[in-house]
Symmetry: C2
Subunit: 247 residues, 2 copies
């Protein structure tokens, strides 16, 4: 006698875009409004930006799965314990989703921005893709919202765009800033002074814009030279526009 | 006696995303379904990819404005006449939209991908923004659809992503390919052999993927090394994934 086999549920990594629910894709909007299970990352004790974008969209009987990042502020990135703690967290989160999939349950895992572009969902995806059906829905990136907010096109003609993280060493930043036509700098926070130094060093500072909370309610847009030394810790993006060929 | 003044209409540059109507933003979808005037670029004698994405979405009484690129295949990019012909075309297209705005008419101008990221709408935007209300709606880029189609995240941790055009000289391509962790190459077409040479020269060829028609009905995804020497002339993107920090 054979037992009936429950088909595995699909884990969908769905990008929410930059923050304005109106900038979500039609597909993301539909998947979320129908989802029975929705998972999201957040810091412990916070609502979380991803969850906030979903306000008013979810079914009343939805099961919400909050995956809360372990607190790591005391541990430097270079300490091997940092990676161990995060790895254990992603393993546990993946195991929870794997269990739901094995029970036949579809789950929508949301992430801010585009899931495959510096997103946390990638760490679940790499742990799940060989075990259960996984689908990824791309989304508008935070950087698209940032350059749109400046009111200036970011790349023209043959412009090279380089996307760099403020966490990189200054000489690496300088190398890319000197070569690229258009620039996007993310992960600024504590690296703000270093990023500004690298922009000064390559003559790009005066053409740089600082966008905080792009496409969110508290969006600000200003020239970096007018920004002072206070920046939003996480949702800040610096854009330097290209100046390529234009008829 | 004063004459009543008609308020100017708003010209909206709306990104359609990579090609699948389901990947349009909720905002783009709504604007298009309600629009009385929709403008799009296309080659003379073609339906045009942007217009094709809109099939079945528009009002039955919509006014469609096809802006047909002048034929420039006989003229090299470096010839000054090339720029003159394109410039005259954008001037004429902008004048047509300006006239509609002055008559109080809102117009949705659609573009594939994200309007401010290598998009043709920028050439209208720069000519219109001082004369009439202009709004830009960002969208999912073709490159997001391309890296999603590979089933592999494009950037991890502190990876640098550089976006380069195949039209650039080989030494410029090599400089960026050697430095960046993740790569996107667009405008491949006639430059395919040069792009492959630059990827070989920097040891990136074996890790490169070729995506044709990302998020469209005839999407193909393959390793570049298995692609042979035939590529789709326009909707081809090469992706090399980063390999940065991952817990």
């Amino acid at each position: 006698m054979t037992h009936p086999v429950t088909p595995k549920g699909t884990i969908r990594g769905v990008g929410l875009g930059p923050g304005d629910p109106d900038l979500m894709s039609v597909k993301a909007d539909r998947l979320l409004r129908h989802a029975s299970h929705v998972a999201f990352f957040r810091k412990a004790g916070r609502i979380g930006q991803a969850r906030r974008i979903l306000d008013g969209m979810l079914r009343s009987d939805v099961t919400e799965i909050a995956m809360e990042y372990p607190v790591t502020t005391e541990i430097p990135l270079s300490d091997p314990r940092y990676n161990q703690i995060l790895s254990a967290f992603y393993e546990a989160s993946a195991a929870r989703l794997r269990g739901l999939s094995e029970a036949g349950q579809d789950v929508v895992v949301v992430s801010e921005g585009d899931p495959f572009f510096y997103g946390s969902f990638m760490h679940l995806y790499s742990r799940l893709k060989d075990d259960c059906p996984v689908e990824v829905v791309p989304a508008i990136t935070g950087m698209s919202a940032a350059w749109t907010a400046t009111g200036l096109p970011v790349t023209w003609g043959d412009d090279v765009l380089s996307v760099v993280m403020g966490t990189l060493p200054e000489d690496v930043l300088v190398g890319h800033m000197a070569r690229a036509d258009a620039l996007v700098v993310m992960k600024i926070g504590r690296n703000f002074a270093k990023v500004c130094d690298a922009l000064h060093h390559t003559g790009r500072f005066d053409d740089a814009w600082l966008i905080e909370y792009a496409a969110m309610a508290d969006q600000t847009v200003q020239r970096l030279s007018e920004a002072g030394d206070r920046v939003a810790p996480y949702f800040s993006i610096i854009v330097v526009h290209g100046n390529g060929r234009r008829p």
